[in-house]
């Protein structure tokens, strides 16, 4: 067993609210981990602390053998962690291709001279990136592949989610954090999206996933293992069926009898 991400005693509070309270969490390489818990239990805060949006008050995080505690959002991305957001955060006026290329940042030549003066070289990189992005989009929705230069603003929610996931996947991350991918979508749409994610994962065996989700059907179907949070602490851990049967977990969701 090879730990890809390890958090020890991770804490974060906002004023009097303890969003994360000494959380210990280990993610094994190549697994799909479900992160569940009632609203406000610290799931999204965990993502935000891992990805450098918030600094932790205490605790340590290691990724792929290196310490990344309170590393900047930039270096986390460089290290190979990508994410999606609970509320879609695409750049709406920009095209599908542009949005996906934002996620491809580390694989694109960002030099001033290269971008302004060497248009021939730039064009080759552009065409290569276009082919990559198109191939990825085709996995999710072939219909979108012919509309790469249309603005995202005109697309329905499911397509926006697909593009957001493509944006996170294009740089071939080692770890993908999905924050409530089903939000704003129907049951069938969610199922379709999950199948596509599994398809991508089949091609890229190295991809590890953490998924925050309220739809337990999704969690049951795709996760290898679940961690349940409540008030920023881990209250249960194990395969979905085991944690779902746990009385502490049932109390957290439904309240004590």
């Amino acid at each position: 067993m090879n730990a890809l991400l390890e958090a020890h005693g991770l804490s974060k509070h906002f004023g009097g609210v303890q969003a994360l309270d000494g959380l210990d969490l280990t993610v094994t390489a190549n697994e799909i981990l479900g992160l569940i818990g009632p609203n406000g239990s610290g799931k999204t805060t965990f993502f935000n602390v891992i990805t450098g949006i918030y600094a932790a008050d205490a605790g340590r995080v290691a990724f792929d053998g290196t310490d990344v505690t309170n590393a900047s959002a930039r270096s986390i991305y460089q290290a190979g962690i990508s994410r999606t957001f609970q509320r879609s955060r695409l750049s709406l006026p920009l095209s599908i291709f542009d949005n996906i290329m934002i996620g491809n940042h580390k694989r694109l030549n960002q030099g001033l001279w290269f971008n302004l003066a060497k248009r021939g070289d730039f064009k080759r990189e552009f065409e290569r990136s276009y082919a990559d992005a198109r191939a990825l989009v085709e996995v999710f929705e072939p219909g979108l592949a012919g509309r790469m230069f249309e603005p995202v603003a005109g697309l329905p929610m499911i397509d926006r989610r697909r593009i957001e996931i493509c944006r996170a996947l294009i740089s071939a991350p080692k770890l993908l954090l999905l924050d409530e991918p089903s939000a704003g979508m129907t049951h069938d749409e969610t199922a379709e999206l999950m199948n596509d994610i599994l398809l991508v994962r089949k091609r890229n065996k190295d991809l590890t996933l953490i998924i925050v989700e309220h739809e337990m059907g999704v969690i049951e179907r795709i996760t290898d293992r679940c961690v349940v949070l409540n008030f920023g602490r881990k209250i249960a851990e194990g395969p979905y069926r085991t944690v779902a049967a746990d009385t502490q977990v049932q109390e957290a969701y439904l309240g004590a009898a």
């Binding site: 959002a73 460089q78 994410r83 750049s91 006026p93 920009l94 095209s95 694109l108 001033l112 064009k123």
Partner: protein
């Protein structure tokens, strides 16, 4: 546009020809009645064209055939200058349009792409102009080099503002630049070396012994000395346009859009926010400074009153009017904002009122400006 197949070059070409003809008529008109009539016809024509959806065709045509239409636009500018080859006043007006366009292209990189508001555009323009005044008076620095130095000094002065601008966001960053604009004017007024409130003379440009301030005689034809400046200004604008276009159509342009639209998400995908904001601010100021340096030599005179906060607001209003992020729109808006008040003598005193009304009307009825920015195409006409 995408998916509808090729758009031909004709809509763009016809629009360019009509606009050029109209501009020549307007610039040539002397009687106030005729000018008012021409303006009324122009406004009605624009509204009618917008109503009929003709602008979509024109803008699609420009997206698809930008290189060809760009060359035609240079030709159109040349045609305007040729018609008025001995008319000092009109040529000065045309040069003003060209150089203000360069300056607004700079502002466009800052505000339109990176989202960094700059309410001190006229101050940086002034830094360029004062650079010309000082260097041409006291030193023998070659005058083309003076233009470059003007640009670099404007960028350098802008870098003094970077720290407060990077630490603040949105309106607060804008306030920092307003403060700079006010300080700059006061600084010029109390500084005796720079001529104080009276300002100072600027020696005309001279390149390899060719004096730009002498009229040109070719056989029997006599050209205004402003023709020299016109050619140089046109070259400068063409260069600035290509630079800004390449910037927009590269990963850097994408970075700037990404950080303007969502700084947090951009950070999560590895963008160095500070690096790109600085890059945009410096490139923008460099363009504004070069334009100012040349404008100083054209006018032959600089004074603090030419570079006030109000002038900075005019530059920003050009940006809002033309369509933030669209270089073609900016040039159209610059023509409107510079030419109309000059021709309409009766409204000279009320020109700020006119700007305000135009900006309000545009924000109400066409919030993205006269020519909204199209979706980025990295290579015009490129197809997968």
């Amino acid at each position: 546009m995408a998916g509808k197949g090729h758009t031909s070059v004709w809509p763009g070409l016809v629009a360019l020809a009509i606009a050029t003809g109209y501009l020549i008529a307007l610039l040539g008109a002397e009687k106030q009645n005729l000018i008012i009539m021409l303006l009324a016809v122009g406004i009605v024509a624009v509204i009618a064209a917008a109503w009929l959806g003709l602008f979509e065709n024109v803008s699609a045509s420009f997206v698809e055939h930008e290189d060809a239409l760009g060359v035609c636009a240079i030709g159109a500018a040349g045609a305007v200058a040729a018609v008025f080859h001995d008319n000092h006043f009109v040529l000065l007006l045309v040069i003003t349009v060209l150089l203000y366009s360069v300056a607004t292209l700079g502002l466009n990189v800052q505000f339109g792409y990176a989202g960094v508001l700059n309410f001190a555009g006229a101050s940086f323009f002034g830094i360029g102009a004062y650079t010309s005044a000082v260097l041409n008076t006291y030193t023998a620095v070659p005058h083309l080099l003076v233009l470059l130095i003007g640009g670099m000094l404007a960028a350098f002065a802008g870098s003094l503002l970077l720290l407060p601008v990077l630490r603040t966001r949105g309106h607060y960053a804008a306030v920092v630049t307003i403060a700079f604009a006010l300080l700059f004017k006061t600084f010029l007024e109390v500084n005796d070396v720079l001529g104080g409130p009276q300002g100072m003379q600027v020696k005309g440009m001279r390149i390899l012994g060719w004096s730009f301030n002498d009229n040109i005689e070719i056989g029997k034809i006599s050209l205004s000395f402003y023709m020299n400046y016109f050619v140089l200004s046109l070259l400068l604008l063409a260069g600035a346009f290509v630079l800004v276009r390449r910037l927009e159509r590269s990963w850097i342009g994408l970075n700037l859009d990404a950080l303007r639209l969502d700084e947090t998400a951009a950070g999560c995908f590895g963008l160095d926010i500070v690096r790109w904001k600085i890059t945009a601010f410096l490139i923008g100021n460099f363009l504004i400074g070069i334009a100012g340096a040349l404008f100083g030599m054209v006018g032959g005179f600089v004074a603090p009153n030419n570079y006030t906060f109000a002038d900075s607001l005019i530059l920003v209003s050009i940006l809002l009017l033309g369509g933030i992020g669209n270089p073609w729109g900016l040039m159209v808006a610059t023509i409107i904002v510079v030419v109309v008040p000059e021709k309409l003598q009766t409204i000279q005193e009320y020109r700020f009122l006119l700007y305000a009304l135009m900006v309000i009307a545009v924000l109400l009825f066409r919030p993205e400006g006269l020519l909204p920015r199209p979706v980025r195409r990295y290579f015009p006409g490129w197809r997968p």
